[in-house]
């Protein structure tokens, strides 16, 4: 059994045992970590594997949260349909923004995605259905498939875990498929990929849409966990946060984003009483990672093991 399989099993066991640890770790905190881990993995698909830095991923994450919130609260959709709705809308949004952004590369792409997500932010601020500064509150968790009541934290936990596993499995398959190989080749050397006959733009767009859709799935699920969708989810600070999680965990690694999400969210939770120190520490981690720690936690660990 190779290392990857061992990690998979370890994570799987830990994940399934989550609710049992409820006296040590608060279950809602764990569920939030799972959502952010999915968000970071989806983001990593675009950054780590395709080499495109999007600085506006909060748009998909947060907007899907609003869509799901609205769908479940106003239209009474069951949770899995609500999450599906959010995911599809995020995919659509990813298609629109991605088509615009792909026209450029590198920093320009990052700036375009940032500015586009600002537009989404302002739409969310003004639109009636998002509830502006208050956000959408009291989103019902509903009954999964109309059968299992998700108001109970334990049932909800397994639902969230299921969503995470689904998303992660999709990402994993994508990375290790021929499609994923082409993405990596585009990241390494785009002109060569094009010369081999691949329509790089089309591949990049598909990666973009996939990444956006799964980010949306993460945001939708989070809105059910917290029963809230708010402007913080579409703010550019959120875009920065997912970049940090991916960078800290290890860009281009499979498990890195999960570790990154756990670390960042854990820090936030335990430093919450320290006021501005959370911002300062987050910034310091960014700086240290970029200067000395670019492979991220998982990347450095992997390098250690190889020696």
């Amino acid at each position: 059994m190779n290392n990857t399989q061992k990690v998979f099993i370890a994570l799987g066991v830990l994940g399934l045992a989550g609710p049992l640890l409820k006296d040590i770790v608060y279950p809602v905190f764990l569920m939030n970590v799972l959502c952010f881990a999915l968000f970071a993995c989806a983001f990593n698909l675009l950054l780590g594997f395709t080499g495109l830095l999007s600085f506006g991923h909060a748009a998909y994450f947060g907007f899907a949260a609003y869509v799901t919130g609205h769908a479940c609260k106003e239209w009474g959709l069951t949770p899995e349909l609500g999450v599906l709705a959010g995911t599809l809308v995020a995919a659509g949004l990813g298609f629109v923004i991605g088509s615009l952004a792909i026209r450029r590369a590198g920093i320009y792409l990052a700036m375009i995605t940032l500015a586009m997500s600002q537009l989404v932010f302002f739409v969310c601020l003004q639109a009636k259905f998002t509830g502006g500064e208050d956000g959408i509150q009291g989103i019902p968790r509903g009954k999964f498939l109309g059968l299992v009541d998700l108001t109970d934290n334990v049932s909800l936990y397994y639902f969230v875990f299921g969503v995470f596993v689904l998303g992660f499995a999709l990402i994993y398959r994508t990375i290790h498929s021929p499609f994923g190989q082409i993405l990596k080749s585009i990241r390494e050397n785009e002109p060569r990929a094009i010369s081999l006959g691949y329509d790089a733009d089309k591949f990049k767009l598909v990666a973009f849409v996939l990444s956006a859709a799964l980010s949306g799935m993460a945001g939708s699920t989070k809105s059910l966990v917290n029963q809230l969708a708010s402007l913080a989810d579409v703010h550019w600070h959120m875009s920065g946060e997912v970049v940090l999680m991916t960078l800290l965990g290890g860009m281009g690694t499979v498990f890195g984003p999960i570790v990154g999400a756990l670390t960042v969210k854990g820090l936030e939770h335990y430093l919450a009483e320290q006021g501005s120190w959370v911002t300062i520490v987050t910034g310091a981690i960014f700086v240290v990672c970029v200067l000395a720690f670019r492979r991220g936690i998982v990347g450095e660990l992997a390098a250690l093991f190889k020696r």
Binding site: I107, M111, M116, I280, G283, A284, I285
Partner: protein, 295 residues
């Protein structure tokens, strides 16, 4: 009193003039960003935080050292520029060999640190900074009373912007800078100290931000969040103008100020969003920006 689209001409002109003043802030800030991007190929995310540091420099100079506005107008940008030089020498320099995205991420982290530290020290309500004695009061322009301080801001920013443009586009120093962007090795081979040039350029770019901060302090409350409120708009200006284009930054900044001024008269709720709408349109039609060229 004549009217344009139902708005009295006086009101329209006064809003446009105020908009132009705002535009000069945008112009100066995006100029600094454009200069840094042009030479270093780095998107300086900490630009907003350094603008805020300039404003706090003025306030701290007054409160702790009793230095008046005019002294701070000179000293604060120098201090911020020095901070920039330190940042470039100790941190940014290590990233030039890597993907340019790392520069963006580093400066983003620095912005968080700087903002967090100031917030921890000074809270968020901010500190008042008085308008300097010489510039108090307003001038009657016929169609409006223009506060003198605003007139000064307009004059000062335009002067600085024009001076910067002139140096970069029309002098030998500027020629070295531009050449250094194109081909650093070759320029270095000619005996020009390119790394020093780069360091000083970064220092100058952020000094511009600090200068804008000092100019802003009598107008808005000096508070740790003032930079992050502004930075995203400035990025949009740079994208519209064409990243790396000096003239693009200045013209777009001023133009945006005017358009925002107009929007505030006819459709005020939209004034925060209009820049992003324009950006989306420009990107569709001219991806390189209005004055930009693809790098």
């Amino acid at each position: 009193m004549s009217e344009v689209f139902g708005i009295p001409l006086q009101a329209l002109l006064s809003q446009l003039l105020i908009g132009l003043v705002n535009g000069s802030f945008y112009a100066m800030l995006s100029l600094g960003l454009a200069v840094i991007f042009g030479l270093l190929n780095i998107i300086n995310f900490s630009h907003g935080a350094l603008y805020m540091m300039g404003a706090y420099g003025a306030w701290m100079g007054l409160t702790y050292l009793g230095l008046n506005y005019w002294v701070c107008l000179l000293l604060a940008p120098l201090a911020v520029g020095l901070v920039g030089v330190v940042i470039e020498r100790t941190m940014l320099q290590r990233l030039y060999k890597l993907d340019h995205l790392y520069g963006l991420l580093l400066t983003f982290g620095l912005a968080l640190i700087i903002e967090g530290l100031y917030r921890q020290a000074y809270g968020v309500s901010g500190q008042p900074y008085p308008v300097p004695e010489l510039l108090k009061g307003a001038t009657n322009l016929g169609f409006m009373f223009l506060p003198n301080y605003r007139a000064w801001v307009l004059v000062a920013s335009l002067a600085v912007c024009f001076a910067t443009w002139y140096v970069i586009e029309r002098t030998k120093l500027g020629a070295y800078l531009r050449a250094g962007t194109e081909n650093p090795r070759l320029v270095q081979a000619f005996g020009v100290n390119v790394p020093l040039m780069v360091t000083l350029t970064y220092g100058f770019g952020v000094a511009l931000a600090g200068f804008a901060g000092v100019l802003a302090s009598p107008i808005i409350q000096v508070n740790p969040l003032m930079g992050s409120n502004l930075i995203i708009v400035v990025f949009a200006v740079v994208v519209i103008g064409g990243m790396g284009s000096i003239m693009g930054a200045i013209v777009t900044g001023l133009g945006l100020g005017l358009i925002e001024g107009l929007t505030k008269v006819f459709y005020p709720e939209l004034s925060a969003t209009v820049v992003f709408i324009i950006m989306a349109i420009v990107l569709l039609v001219r991806p390189a920006g209005l004055f930009g060229r693809e790098k």
